[in-house]
């Protein structure tokens, strides 16, 4: 007997992908004051996939629950998720503290158990820390199957088949629910939230918890000693003709 899907979608609030981050003066991190933040693009894709699963077969999905871990400002990305089609949401308010993927995964495990989720769809990586870890860690903690870098997801009852982008091409895995899927860029094209839906989202449930409510103590295993600019490339030259280009490449011993 196939069970209904209770999808959990973790979403992260990150500096907008189009903005070039600046290192702060103390070299401890990236300047966040006055910078535009948005939903992490891969989380947006995860959310879109969940909504499409529900739209395709509304009876198969019991709920889509969005969760974010961060400061109170992360409510914004949860409202976006609700406006796009999530049914309910949880903010785990950790203030301005940065939380490493291991602790995020531990908190998500608690949320999975609380929401009785049987499918978690996450972005493959957050574009700020670029870790690409949380989904796999959550799968490890829950001992669930994992399919990373999904470019296609097909659900038939309790059986989920996922085509993944891997080095050199693609492969397809099959697993039974419950499972963890992380999304690649090519899985889908996320929708925009319409104004009426943004208004309606304000009435949808958004519960706020503390990490202590979940019994997870936030500790950093990695100490960031320094954050610095990558070495700048020295200015190049522009040439006028292909001949000059070839000549220059010979000069640089590149050919």
């Amino acid at each position: 007997m196939s069970s209904k899907l209770r999808i959990l979608v973790p979403v992260k609030r990150v500096i907008d992908f189009a903005i070039k981050p600046r290192i702060n003066k103390a070299q401890t991190g990236v300047e966040t004051k006055g910078v535009k933040f948005s939903i992490n693009p891969f989380c947006d894709i995860a959310l879109e996939e969940s909504i499409r699963i529900k739209e395709k077969d509304p009876n198969s999905v019991e709920k889509i629950h969005a969760v974010s871990i961060g400061s109170a400002k992360a409510k914004d990305v949860l409202r976006v998720a609700l406006a796009k089609g999530a049914d309910s949401s949880t903010l785990i308010d950790v203030g301005d503290q940065e939380v490493e993927p291991l602790q995020v995964a531990k908190m998500l495990k608690q949320v999975v158990e609380k929401e009785n989720s049987n499918l978690v769809i996450l972005g493959k990586q957050a574009i700020d820390d670029d870790s690409n870890q949380t989904g796999q860690m959550l799968a490890g903690l829950l001992n669930w199957p994992q399919a990373t870098n999904a470019s296609k997801v097909v659900i038939e009852g309790d059986s989920v088949s996922v085509t993944r982008e891997v080095d050199g091409g693609a492969d397809t895995l099959k697993a039974q629910l419950p499972m963890i899927i992380t999304t690649d860029l090519r899985l889908n094209e996320p929708r925009y939230a319409s104004l009426p839906n943004i208004m309606k989202a304000k009435k949808k449930p958004l519960e706020t918890l503390k990490s202590s409510d979940l019994g997870v103590e936030i500790e950093s295993r990695l100490e960031t000693l320094k954050v610095e600019e990558p070495p700048a490339r020295s200015a190049g030259i522009k040439v006028e003709t292909v001949d000059q280009l070839v000549e220059k490449l010979k000069e640089l011993k590149a050919i």
């Binding site: 981050p21 080095d167 860029l185 000693l225 610095e228 030259i237």
Partner: protein
Amino acid sequence: MSIVARRFFSGTRVKLDTLALLEGTNGKPTPASLSTIAAAIEIGKPITALILGSNADSIAAEVAKTKGVDNVLISKDSKYDHLLAEEVTPLIKQIIQGDGSNYTHFLTPNSSVGKSVLPRLGALLDVQPISEVIKVIDVDTFMRPIYAGNALATVKSKDSIILASIRASAFAPIEETTGQAVTIEEVSQSSESGSRTEFVSEELISSERPELGSATRVVAGGRGLKNKETFEKLIEPLASKLNAAIGASRAAVDSGFCDNSLQVGQTGKIVAPDLYIAVGISGAIQHLAGMKDAKTIVAINKDSEAAIFNVADVGLVGDLNEIVPELIEKL
């Protein structure tokens, strides 16, 4: 092939330190695996290579001769053939926590396998892994890029065992051999993983060209090529002429000009070839993240304001439909 000993996780194990999960194709370790050995050498502890799957034998025989490798462990069980994280991580956990074992570091290449396996293992061991190390500063301190390579973070691990993936393009692959092979030992899992994940099929893009991640020259095409036909007509002959791998921007991949696996950038492949020729690529930060460590960057673009010219050593503004054929002819 050297002597194959069998190991039974007894208390007789010798002291070992860095464990590295390596991958192979066609009976040879992948270039990314050889880069991982290079990073392990910089950590400075004895290195044990772990190779899994039905064809582990031939890859292990090669690895056993590689400079820096002190021990080689293999498991030829076919359940490891696709290196699924669900199967592989319980075995690695068992090796790391085995009686008398003394691993302080565990490394993987930052390949799709490494990215899938390393964090799951981290969860099983309650360790926070370090993704995509580009520099070994100390035994517990490493540098890694964040924000699409726009910042470099130096992090120090407080965990008792350090788990890290290695960005292949940041460490030159170890190709030197010692001339003498170390002993290869077999390991096996003491219990079933209980995994419910099944490998169905794969579609790998076969190519005569050098592999993108390790090629010394890369020719990459972007949106400016307009369509698949132009991409094939211009990029392929240029790549052939230079014996280069083909890469692409996200725009080119999304528009169907070429396969996804050729994408260079923050979410695609990270390359650092000697020569990178960007044709019709504007140079979004996500693309630059994947190639700005190339030794020489050439940009061919009709838009003189394109961001790619800020990182290019040599830029040529003009119509790629005229420039590229002329370039092919004159190389």
